[in-house]
Symmetry: C2
Subunit: 314 residues, 2 copies
């Protein structure tokens, strides 16, 4: 099965306690694609400038990712400058140069129209809604967002949430979106606004899925169904070199695994949460996309087993 | 098997977003004892003043807890005043009246000398060491501590750490004790200073155990043994009324379960981590010790099963 992802393909300049890198390949769609490519076919929609080289594109195509939806336009690519020197768990944005991303108008190539799954990475909800509307036949749609859209573009975002099978956000975003500091109550409020399932990423503590009665086929209308949570833990890591892209890599592992399975069952969803955690844990081991380019399915599955053992009771 | 616990028996005045209570029964030894009492026999050593009533003591004795080690002296009991209005995850201490606790010199009644397990709650490490030295025959010793002792009494604390089978602390304390912001590296450094096993409590995200080659009988000298982590998740809670005592209730469930088992195996230790999480989750549902007084083993085991399912992959 194939996943279509729309989002940023960018360059990042990053400083962490482990060092700094300048203008390395980044962007939500890039991390998502590389991560999901270990599980299923991936197609990308994005926009880049003249500074995006054949070598940059080859990072994606070498992993079998279809890049025909990456539009090349005059100007410079989106460039994000950030620091993790103060807090390794939260990026401090030093500079955001939107460049060609400022006028991004996603176009879906004809060859992408038969995509089975759709991932709306963190971009303007107006664009997310536009892409969603152009892909009426997909089996499942997942999406991400961030504080800026929640705070300043809520009405547009709410139109997107209604159509999501799963929303993937972090603790702070969930609390802000729901206006509630209790994570379980926040989850219940968000599920009431549209998404069938909510995935909340807790960074180094793993991630939780909150299921509703609409999460799975046949679940609708079950008497007495209440929100059921599921927690995928995270492995403690010896070293976090660069947290950039961890959340998008989580999403790629999560959705990539789902897309590789014949049916979306609770068991598949739970395993997908663990694969998300595995891919996020790899992403932070090196700067930029470096680690996500060089993995093998064998080492991914070996770490999945370690993660399963990590909180398994006999 | 019986657990001897030494620590504070106190009164707390607490304000949280759910309300406020004045002079309710509290203290680390109190929460620990109530929690452990659902699993095994418990004996307490502490000191209280004239304001500690027969009704207060009956809260413990009704649960079968042996209170002969609670010394009654002239003056007032330890009284802590705290607020969770700013942050439900971290207590803000408004006032600490040590009162009779200031001159606490733990005395071990003869009837306690055959105790099988020893829990050193968060008190001056000099007192922890003194009690430890008077109980040379116990099978297992666990201990707690806090930032104040780590920062200002490190040399005394280090003497206690050397003799611990397990140290139970939270994320911030672990990072401070090790001088390392990475939790896994911090755990490895702490294990190198003495404790055979380290349990780090992550609050609403659960808790991790870090095992060393000395954690279990027969584990010593295994070639290639490295620190192995295990994560017990936490259930997302609808409502946290009062976080006071959650960590001590975790310790009581954890150590109480271990004391109820014939042997300390990795499987027992892992189940103990889950029981710790279960007891911590009950503690916060009502103010003070209220919830910890009224539980049944049946509801404890039912929640244990829910927690097991909560991150279980088939």
């Amino acid at each position: 099965m194939s996943i279509l992802v729309v989002g940023s393909v960018a360059f990042d300049s990053i400083e962490t306690p482990h060092g700094r890198v300048d203008h390395v390949l980044g962007g939500a769609a890039t991390f998502f694609s590389l991560s999901a490519s270990y599980f299923t076919d991936v197609r990308v929609i994005g926009v880049v400038g003249e500074d995006f080289s054949a070598e940059n594109e080859a990072v994606l195509t070498k992993r079998g990712i279809d890049t025909r939806g990456i539009e090349h336009v005059p100007g410079k690519s989106f460039h994000w400058t950030g620091s993790y020197l103060k807090n390794l768990n939260e990026a401090q944005t030093l500079k955001t140069d939107l460049n060609v991303f400022e006028t991004f108008a996603p176009k879906i190539p004809a060859a992408y129209e038969d995509s089975d799954f759709l991932f709306l990475a963190n971009i303007d909800p107006v664009l997310q809604a536009s892409v969603r509307a152009q892909m009426p036949k997909v089996r499942m749609v997942c999406g991400d967002t961030m504080n800026y859209w929640i705070h300043d573009h809520r009405a547009n975002l709410e139109k997107v949430l209604v159509g999501l099978d799963a929303l993937l956000i972090n603790d702070g975003e969930a609390k802000m979106l729901a206006g509630d500091d209790n994570l379980k109550r926040a989850a219940e409020k968000i599920l009431a606004t549209g998404p069938k399932t909510l995935v909340i990423k807790h960074g180094e503590y793993g991630a939780s899925a909150f299921f509703s009665e609409r999460s799975f086929a046949g679940g609708a209308g079950k008497p007495g169904f209440t929100v059921v949570p599921f927690r995928a833990p995270a492995l403690p890591l010896d070293s976090v070199v660069d947290p950039t892209g961890a959340g998008d890599s989580f999403a790629g592992g999560f959705f990539g695994y789902i897309a590789s399975q014949p049916e979306l069952t609770p068991a598949v969803f739970k395993r997908a949460m663990f694969y998300g955690g595995v891919m996020g844990s790899f992403a932070v081991e090196k700067f930029g996309t470096e680690r996500m380019q060089e993995l093998s399915r064998e080492e991914i599955d070996a770490r999945f087993e370690r993660l399963r053992e990590h909180s398994h009771l006999d």
